[in-house]
Symmetry: none
Subunit: 208 residues, 4 copies
DNA sequence: AATGAATGAGAGTTCATTCAT
DNA sequence: AATGAATGAACTCTCATTCAT
């Protein structure tokens, strides 16, 4: 891949968008080269096949996320689970608003049957990445904060589901739209209220 | 659609399965007519295009669900929200095990980008149907059971997200497999425990 | 293959010619459909792939030859080997002049590396067909006619090589040309002289 | 072609092998430059097109053969035709075993439809070369050795066909295989027996 | 009502050839 | 001299859709 970076970015952007919008099988290499403004042959000169292109994108995207997004999640030993989740999801949202291509590609990648087009090794990396945040979060958790009538593992799962539900609502709201900055700010406020609710539901009741 | 009902059912079944398995674009009308045992022309005689066939299926499926599945959800005035949800989700699971074609079609329809192939009117019906259960459930709910520090609308949303998370886990587990009956029973037990947790999280604390 | 015979013949003729001229790999299905005057899809509607088309042609051609050409070779018990070969090659030449497509296809099929594109079963049929004439001819041969200083097996091989050489000269002369009828007649006369030479070379000297 | 000889040889070897293996149309210039270890542009800098490269190889190969192989065939005035042919074919076989690239290239060139890719002038040179040995051999032949009932021109043709048949059997046997040295020696013995047969068939009967 | 032959656009991919560097 | 990025035509094959029967 010794081509000049700007052209490279153009191609990758076009390819990410195409796969995100249409899924693996329906993505058209013709549309990709048209959107990227290159000749038909070039795509197969760089990437030898549609399959390899897809794998490159998955690999590229995961490496990018691992380097730019995951490091921000580290640290904060001793903080409560939900607080950590709160920070993590805020970072995720910010990353999403910054690199929508990439995140759309990955959500398409995971939710669809597209994942089956990846070779075993890459598929495992995707699954690792999916659980990485969670596992990383779990490592330093102060379990004593959870209420006693729900097992901590279950509690963490419930927190994840709730936050997933919330984030889905958010991404549905903001997908494809030229969102106003005000709306984003309002969202964060709403999100904080939501997380207070989650804490109330899952943490042991603090004494007056 | 003045054709004899048995043939009709054969075609619809084949079409539901094809769309559920391959998504809108990759669904092959050739495979549908082969599976249904009809000539190629007939499909386009009844339904004028792939698009219309898809819309018919969506409409037919929604009508079927509205008539066979939703009525079971009604009634039980005075019961708690989560108890109602519990009953609803059990009915949903049973319906899923009974009409897998149809439910697979709808989950494929909703989760994928397939929904964009529907005209606005039908898409709205799908979205209505998605929330219909919820809205219907809401009508008779005894709001007083919810804890006071979380608004009831939010609480209901949270319950829905939690149950969605649980059901997704379930359908992921059972999709495509020839599940053992034992596993189904164990699942229901586990589900009851889960719902107790949900009640603990969202209901006002019962006095000793 | 329920299409009307004339169209069928047009397609087969075009396909035979294309494969004969370009070999398997360089044969273009595009040129075939153009030459046959049919739409791009039809070729793959009848025959599912280039490979299947090729196999169909090989099978069709072999069946045709077996039915129209081989039966003429039978009989004549007791005749000399070269006389039998003489009759056989005359029949072969007449068949060649009558169905040049088919024979060009088979000579291309056998001499080139095209034969590797056939499945084992068909390849065996080709090889059987190749030796069939010979084997059939050998069955009733009066070996006593051959000269004593050359083993009969070798003698038969030499006769075959000589006739092959002669036939190759002929087919080179007549290939692709609109040959005059006169030339064909002259050829047969020349051929008879040639066969007398072969007899003189391989048979035991007749007594004065 | 002012490039250094070693590089030149590398390119020619790669090109000879590629054309010999795949024929004109299926030969890939990509594979040639890869095998030769040069950049894509160089091939088209030296030879302006695939066509010209092919013609250069044909020309180069024929010149090489004319200089290294044909001279060995000369002389021996007074020897019998078949004895001369015997010597010639032995030289040919030895040359074949020594320069398999080149000979495979030429046999591919002649037997296939590849020859049509040559311009008229080169094609004539190929045909000349094919018959050159023969014509050269004819010049000094002692015609009186042939039997009287077959014209000498015909007899020479028959001898050629017989030897062609034998050589074809040989090259079929040895093509592509790592032949054992023993097998080669056995072949030469067998070949001598064969040539005795040819003499018996075509020469005038020697008196006891 | 019903068939299936027929179409042509578009899919992924390969390739000889050009040209800025 | 030398590179390899870039092109676009041609390749085999698939598909929804049409229409004569």
């Amino acid at each position: 891949m010794g081509l000049q970076p700007e052209k490279q970015q153009t191609i990758l952007k076009a390819a990410f968008a195409e796969f995100a919008e249409h899924g693996y099988k329906n993505a058209s290499t013709n549309r990709i080269v048209e959107a990227a403004g290159i000749g038909k042959g070039m795509l197969f000169y760089y990437f030898n096949s549609k399959q390899e292109l897809f794998e490159f994108l998955a690999d590229y995207g995961m490496t990018f996320i691992s380097e730019h997004y995951l490091p921000q999640l580290s640290g904060d030993g001793g903080a409560g689970f939900i607080e950590t989740l709160q920070k993590a999801s805020r970072i995720k949202m910010e990353a999403y608003l910054k690199y929508p291509h990439l995140f759309n590609f990955f959500s398409a990648l995971m939710s669809e049957s597209n994942i089956k087009h990846l070779p075993d090794q890459l598929r495992r990396r995707v699954e690792d990445l999916q659980s990485l945040g969670t596992r990383r979060l779990v490592s330093n958790v102060d379990m004593s904060m959870f209420r006693e009538d729900i097992p901590p593992e279950a509690a963490m799962q419930y927190a994840q589901w709730l936050i997933d539900g919330y984030l889905k609502k958010i991404t549905d709201t903001f997908s494809g739209t030229n969102y106003a900055q005000d709306a984003v700010l309002a969202m964060w406020d709403d999100y904080d209220v939501f997380l207070e609710h989650v804490k109330a539901m899952l943490y042991v009741k603090k004494k007056g």
